[in-house]
């Protein structure tokens, strides 16, 4: 049986290529060109002067800081089903359920806290939620605090965050 061997020719086997020096000079030319043009016109560079200039390209699919949505009557959409806490790979969602007294639903969270230091912003909680109660559409990408406790975001804070891309309330039935 004939052996099925495909011989692949080596590229760049000429002396000029094996010497590497012309290629190195070519590369140095490119980098020095970038260096000098940027040194001469530092403000023409396509970069963001971050704290002064904020990013403008955050889309609706961006996973920012979480928020808890509301129903159309203004009450909390969450029914404390613990789906998000179960789906969470970093175990950073802490829910305490309680009886709901206003007749809209049966259960609601008494407390709902997210440890943003533990959170990996994977979005699994948003995927898991059957009530569209938790979303990551705030567009907030930096969480700032002086102490460890500042990063523990509670229910009131989560409810106070606004969606950055419209569609404020929960669309679940």
């Amino acid at each position: 049986m004939e052996k099925k061997i495909k011989v692949v020719e080596r590229h760049n086997t000429k002396f000029k290529h094996r010497l590497f020096i012309p290629a190195i000079i070519e590369g140095l030319k490119i980098t020095t060109k970038h260096l000098f043009s940027n040194v001469n016109n530092i403000n023409d560079m396509d970069v963001l002067e971050y704290p002064e200039e904020q990013p403008t390209d955050i889309s609706g699919r961006y996973r920012g800081l979480h928020r808890l949505t509301q129903r159309n009557d203004g009450s909390i959409a969450c029914v404390a089903c613990f789906m998000c806490a179960t789906a969470c790979p970093s175990n950073c969602i802490f829910i305490q359920a309680t009886q709901r007294e206003d007749g809209v639903d049966e259960k609601m969270p008494q407390s709902f806290a997210i440890d943003t230091l533990e959170c990996i912003f994977c979005g699994y909680c948003v995927e898991a939620c059957p009530c569209d109660a938790i979303r990551m559409d705030t567009g907030i990408f930096s969480v700032i605090g002086d102490r460890r406790e500042d990063f523990m975001i509670d229910k009131e804070q989560l409810l106070s965050h606004q969606g950055a891309f419209g569609n404020e309330n929960s669309i679940a039935k």
Binding site: G27, L28, T31, H34, L35, V39, N41, N43, E52, E53
Partner: protein, 431 residues
Amino acid sequence: MSLSAIGVTLFSIVLALLLALLMIPVLVWLERRIAGLIQDRKGPNRTNLFGFRLGGVIQSFADVIKLVFKEEYYPAHIQKGQWLFIIAPAILFVSALLGFMVIPFADNLNIGGESFKIQALPVEWGVVWYLAIGSIGVMGVLLGGWISHNKYALLGSQRATSLMLGYELPLGLSVIAMIITYQSIDFNAMVAWQSDTLWGFLPAWGIIVQPLAAMIFIITIFVETNRAPFNVAEGESEIVAGHMTEFSAMKFAMYFMGEYIAMNAASAVVITMFFGGYQLPYLSTSELFTHFNVIVIVFMSILPFLIYFFIRWMHKNNAIRSTLISDGGRAFETKVLTITLILMVLIVEAIGFYLLKQPADSLVVGVSVMLLQIAVFIVKLMIFNIFFIVVRWTLPRFRYDQVQKLGWNYLLPLSLANIFITALVVVGLGV
């Protein structure tokens, strides 16, 4: 020992120390800024002292302060020989610093009939000293990797050691070719040899006389200083930080700074041996003395233009985009720097007028020629340091075995052939 001898020696030592140690923060900053600019980023430019950013060079000083105040930490698994853990980075740092000490910064200074070398260590065997001290430096890497009891550290130091075995040979052999050419192992004599011209129009720099030796030396000096593309002793993706893995705080900083001093020393040796040292092309020291007035006048007329273009560049580039409201005090910084620069130019011009009236054999003229040569040396040093940095951000890393192959299979035979040809030419032509 006369008073002037003590003065010149102290001046040389202080100058060498300043050039070696003050260059570290500048080089670290340059490395990060140039890396950024090559990759179309900005690099660190925000740290400031009272609103003065100086392009961000303050960042390196902030880094040093951070490293000094970090906790002195020893890994618990190092049971014996903790003192070796401190000594290992110190060996690298000190040997890199000592290697820099034999570089002549200017031609001999004549004071009252006596001639003094502007060299921190005024020896006549500078090349041998540099090679000897340079190969001690790798002991720091070896010891650091060994004492860490860490497989990554051990692998890193093992790589560094085998590279040293592969590269000291071509390095030393290319130096031997240069020694045959210059017929001296004294850096001063080498620089003096390079003040001539070849066939009347080319400066007789080492790179023109011995291009192959220059190429081999520059390649091997990249290995010697453990810099890209040959930085195989450390590699984030494969062996973490190599020999530096277990080191933290000031011990890490010693390794880090030693690397930059070594790079600085390597640049100094390269320009001393191959790029004419402190010499201006076509102007040897005696010509500097005979045409002193012309040179001062040319310098005085060029300087304002240079500073004018620098100020224009600064006004353009030390500003923020017009779309932003706050400039963070950059306009004020630019203003202060502009006034300072103009005042400095005025002072230098006044000194120039004073120098024009001095007799050619006075001490003032000698000192100003020396200062000019030191300035030329520093400019060349910076250009070569920047070359080091640009190369690091241009070339991809070599694989470990490829570096070995390059060293043993290509550079070693080439350097041997180079010695042979050099010796034939020197003996045959009887020069």
